[in-house]
């Protein structure tokens, strides 16, 4: 006996639908206005020539010309390479550091509110504050870093004037700021591992290193994947730290892709070209995220509350 579908529970279902939309629309409206609309605009704008320094040129449609220019722009590739290198090094350090910190916090179970607060502080303060504090420590000729190295007998570089050395405080600042966040994610993952697995391994005679490799790491994989993906995406978009610490310098030695986009947009006022850069950045980030998810499995993102 087939059941004929009821016309959408008429009055009651309709009023619940109306209420649902009424509650949702204010938020969605705001998001639509200040997020969706600009995003669409960016895509559209990237196909035009729009240079606010030369308003007499108008805003002609030039198709993919901006993209072509971007891809043949040496400074673009330089920025991209800088960003990729930065992301690679920083995320690796954060992962290792975060793992060590997470393991430590997990063991010292009575870590206490003060310890947890201390660990959270770097994450919680403004990025520019972190950048300034680290810049201060690496100032030449008399900053802390210089002083310590001299006392150890080494000759320290002029950090921010040296194309390679400038990366050191940058990476350190980023690692300092975000390792706690990674540690938190991993700690949550650690806390879901059943203690009896370790007890069984003890009985089986496996040592702590063995247990780490064969129990902890595999079971921590979902948390590791989430941590790596989020951090990689964020590292790719790095802006605050670079702007404040080096301004991209010396020259463009430490310019990140986000910084280059920013300069193009709000210093050089080349909106069309800058929009194309934005789209490229978004596309790369998005594809990396997709690739990451596909490689490591979408299970890491399961909505646990459904």
């Amino acid at each position: 006996m087939t059941a004929s579908p009821r016309p959408a529970g008429a009055s009651w279902r309709r009023s619940e639908t109306r209420l649902g939309w009424a509650l949702a629309l204010p938020a969605l409206g705001v998001i639509g206005l200040v997020a969706l609309f600009p995003i669409l605009w960016t895509f559209w704008e990237s196909l035009h020539l729009h240079d606010l320094r030369m308003p007499w040129l108008g805003r002609p449609f030039i198709g993919a010309a901006n993209y072509v220019e971007a891809l043949s722009d040496g400074r673009f590739w330089n920025a991209l390479a800088n960003t990729a290198a930065f992301a690679g090094v920083a995320v690796t350090l954060e992962l290792v550091g975060g793992l060590v910190l997470a393991l430590a916090l997990h063991r010292v179970s009575r870590a206490g509110r003060l310890v947890r607060t201390a660990v959270l502080l770097p994450w919680a303060i403004p990025t520019v504050v972190a950048a300034l504090v680290w810049r201060f420590m690496f100032e030449s000729p008399a900053g802390l870093a210089t002083g310590v190295l001299e006392r150890l007998g080494a000759t320290p570089p002029t950090w921010f004037a040296d194309a390679l050395a400038a990366w050191v405080p940058l990476v350190l600042a980023d690692v300092w700021k975000t390792t706690p966040f990674v540690a938190l994610l991993l700690l949550a993952g650690l806390q879901t591992i059943d203690r009896s697995l370790y007890e069984a391994a003890d009985v089986d005679g496996a040592g702590p290193w063995r247990q780490f490799l064969e129990i902890t790491l595999p079971l921590l994989r979902p948390a590791l994947v989430v941590a790596v993906l989020f951090r990689a995406l964020d590292a790719f978009r790095v802006f605050d730290i670079v702007y404040v610490m080096t301004g991209g310098g010396p020259g463009t030695a430490t310019e990140s892709i986000a910084l280059y986009t920013f300069s193009t947009l709000l210093r050089n006022l080349r909106f069309g070209f800058g929009s194309a850069l934005s789209v490229i950045v978004f596309a790369v980030a998005f594809l990396c995220a997709l690739a990451g998810i596909r490689m490591f499995g979408a299970s890491a993102f399961q909505d646990r509350s459904a």
Binding site: M1, A3, S4, R6, G9, S11, W12, R13, S15, E16
Partner: protein
């Protein structure tokens, strides 16, 4: 006070799962109707359909003849006692009780009076200012009951209200619910998977399986004349014995014949043709252990379960398959594991079911 009716109600979820199929049920004004069945039978879904917490995919729900299928729960004037009690954790017991009345705009004085009345009736006045977290399971259950009673609704809906209780409290609360029904004389729909609860509380029992009603009748009738093999096995503890056999003509009369026994059907009308396969059902209480040679069949005793008032004996009988034959014997019987005994079924207590359809096919005059 209300009569509730479900007409050809179905509930199919978007996943394709069918919870209720084409179900029709009339609940009489003032009765306590039990929806009984195993998990997944759809009984809770039926309750929720009556409450309005789910809408049927097709069919109608009527209260006092009025079609309420499209009416949302707040306007159906029914009260529900949830399995988990669902007390508002951030409100005191008093506020929990008062909520339903307050929402309806009843004036404060009357609300107060009703709350006090109900609290006294349920013996929870001392708890009025406490929060649910400070109450024991039994106390919470009373508050849940109170919240329903205080509103004087058209009907009460109970969703397995005893299953979260300590087993020691269950029997007592069960009795109180029966007394409550008698006192309030309001229609009640009660969902449970416990057949003992169903039998003791229900005016009528609706046995459900896989989204459909197998039988709806007063408790005693469901016990004495189960409509099919499912109901027969579900009701009664220990479960009814069911054996496959054939209805054959032996001499002048008909017998139920199986490799293990032959039962004389004189005076009993079984509505199947000769040679048809049937299931014969006999409750463990309706089998007697008799001296050798006088019974219908014999078997070896494999398990003896002394329950206190009676003892359940499990026999392995050749030719009856892997299932044990369960027999209830007096507590003082001296049967032991390993004994070989003969059993006899009481011929006036047979149940016979068609082997193909599972439906009851026996009529015993005067029963």
């Amino acid at each position: 006070m209300a009569a509730i009716a479900l007409k050809r109600v179905s509930k199919v979820y978007p996943t394709g799962q069918t919870a209720v199929r084409d179900l029709t049920l009339e609940i009489v004004n003032g009765e306590l109707l039990v929806l009984l069945g195993p998990s997944g039978s759809g009984k809770s879904t039926v309750l929720r359909l009556i409450a309005g917490l789910e809408t049927p995919t097709s069919g109608q729900v009527l209260i006092d003849g009025r079609d309420v299928t499209l009416v949302p729960p707040p306007r159906r004037d029914l009260a529900m006692v949830f399995q988990s009690y669902a007390l508002y954790p951030h409100k005191s017991v008093r506020e929990n009780l008062a909520f339903g009345l307050r929402v309806r705009g009843v004036d404060a004085a009357r609300v107060d009076a009703r709350v006090r009345e109900t609290a006294t009736a349920l013996d929870i006045e001392a708890l009025l200012e406490r929060r649910p977290a400070q109450l024991s399971g039994g106390q919470r259950q009373r508050v849940a009951l109170g919240r329903a009673i205080v509103r004087e609704p058209k009907a009460f809906l109970f969703d397995e209200p005893l299953s979260n209780l300590d087993p020691t409290l269950r029997a007592g609360t069960r009795t109180e619910l029966a007394l409550l029904h008698r006192r309030l004389a309001t229609t009640m729909v009660y969902v449970t998977h416990d057949q003992e609860e169903a039998m003791t509380l229900g005016t009528r029992v609706a046995v459900m399986r896989a989204g459909a009603i197998e039988q709806v009748a007063p408790a005693l009738e469901v016990f004495r004349r189960p409509a099919n093999t499912f109901v027969a096995r579900f009701i009664g503890s220990p479960a009814m014995n069911l054996w496959a056999c054939t209805c054959a003509r032996v001499g002048d009369g008909r017998h139920l014949v199986s490799p293990a026994f032959s039962i004389d059907l004189t005076g009993i009308d079984v509505a199947v043709p000769d040679g048809a396969g049937v299931y014969v059902g006999v409750r463990p209480h309706d089998i007697d252990i008799v001296p050798n040679g006088e019974g219908n069949g014999a078997g070896g005793v494999e398990i003896v379960e002394p329950l206190g008032p009676v003892t359940v004996v499990h026999l392995r009988v050749g030719g009856l398959g892997d299932d044990f034959v369960r027999v209830v014997v007096p507590a003082d019987s001296r049967i032991e594991v390993g004994d070989r005994v003969t059993f006899r079924v009481r011929p006036d207590r047979l149940h016979v079911f068609d082997a193909r359809t599972g439906q009851r096919v026996i009529d015993q005059h005067g029963r």
